[in-house]
C-alpha cells in the first residue's frame, strides 16, 4: 500500500502554519524528488471566505512551480491545507476542487487545537483514498 512519508520537522512546520492562520484555513505545497518532500512552501490563502475555503495566491503558486521546475527530479508532491472546525478529511468542496491528481492532499485539523490531526489522501476522479502517514526523522537530502 502506498504510504505518505513526511519528515517530522516538516509536519511540525505544517501544523505551525495551520495554527498561525487559525481561524483561517492555511494552504501550501510540499516539493522534492518522488517520495521525498524536501521543501515546504507556504502559500497565501486568497479566498474571499478564508475561514471556510482556501484558494492559493496564483502569483505565489507560479513562483513555486518555477522553483520546482528548476530541479530536474523535483515534483509537487503534496498540497496541504487546514480545516479549522472539521475533521482532517476531504470535504465535498475539496473533492470538487482536487485539480492535482498527482499530488497527495494533506489535511490538518485544528478542530481540537491542542491536538492537531494530520492525514493524507489521494483524490482521483472524485474518489478518496487515505494513505498511511509515516513521519521520518530527517530530510533525506
Amino acid at each position: 500500500m502506498e504510504e505518505f512519508t513526511i519528515p517530522r520537522s516538516m509536519a511540525t512546520e505544517l501544523i505551525e502554519h495551520a495554527q498561525a492562520e487559525y481561524p483561517k484555513e492555511c494552504c501550501g505545497i510540499l516539493a522534492g524528488p518522488p517520495g521525498d518532500p524536501q521543501k515546504l512552501f507556504r502559500l497565501t490563502n486568497t479566498d474571499p471566505d478564508p475561514v471556510m475555503r482556501y484558494n492559493a495566491d496564483p502569483r505565489e503558486l507560479k513562483r513555486v512551480y518555477d522553483a520546482v521546475y528548476e530541479h530536474d527530479d523535483w515534483e509537487i508532491l503534496s498540497i496541504y491545507h487546514s480545516h479549522t472546525h472539521s475533521p482532517a478529511f476531504p470535504s465535498p468542496t475539496d473533492v470538487e476542487r482536487a485539480f492535482h491528481p498527482d499530488a497527495v492532499y494533506v489535511l490538518v485539523s485544528l478542530a481540537d487545537r491542542a491536538s492537531p490531526a494530520l492525514r493524507a489522501f489521494r483524490i482521483l476522479d472524485g474518489r478518496i483514498e487515505e494513505l498511511p502517514v509515516v513521519q521520518s526523522e530527517e530530510v533525506k537530502g
Binding site: R53, L61, K62, S86, R97
Partner: protein, 92 residues
C-alpha cells in the same frame, strides 16, 4: 506566431501525455483555439461556456497572471511561454 504552452497533469489526457505543446495565434484565446484543433477537449477544460477563463484555472504568460493582463485577449509574441496551472483550492 507559435508559442510554447505548458500543460498540467490533469490536462495531459488531451495531449497524449505531453507536458508542453505548441500553439499558434496572436492572442491567448487564438492559441487555445489552435490547440483545440489538435488536442480536442483542452479548451473546454480551461474556458467556460461563456468564453471566460475558468474560475479555477490560472494562466500565465511568461511570469504574469493573464488576469492582470488582458485575460484571454492578451496578445502573445514569439518566444512567450503560456503556463496553465489549476488552482490550489478547496474548503471545508
Amino acid at each position: 506566431m507559435t508559442i510554447e504552452v505548458r500543460v498540467p497533469t490533469i490536462l495531459r489526457k488531451h495531449t497524449q501525455g505531453a507536458k508542453a505543446v505548441s500553439g499558434a495565434g496572436s492572442t491567448v484565446r487564438e492559441v487555445l483555439s489552435d490547440l483545440e484543433s489538435r488536442h480536442p477537449g483542452i479548451t473546454g477544460a480551461v474556458v467556460t461556456e461563456n468564453g471566460d477563463l475558468h474560475r479555477f484555472i490560472n494562466m500565465y504568460l511568461n511570469d504574469e497572471d493573464i488576469r492582470f493582463l488582458g485575460s484571454l485577449e492578451t496578445p502573445v509574441s514569439d518566444g512567450d511561454i503560456l503556463s496553465i496551472l489549476p488552482a490550489v483550492a478547496g474548503g471545508r
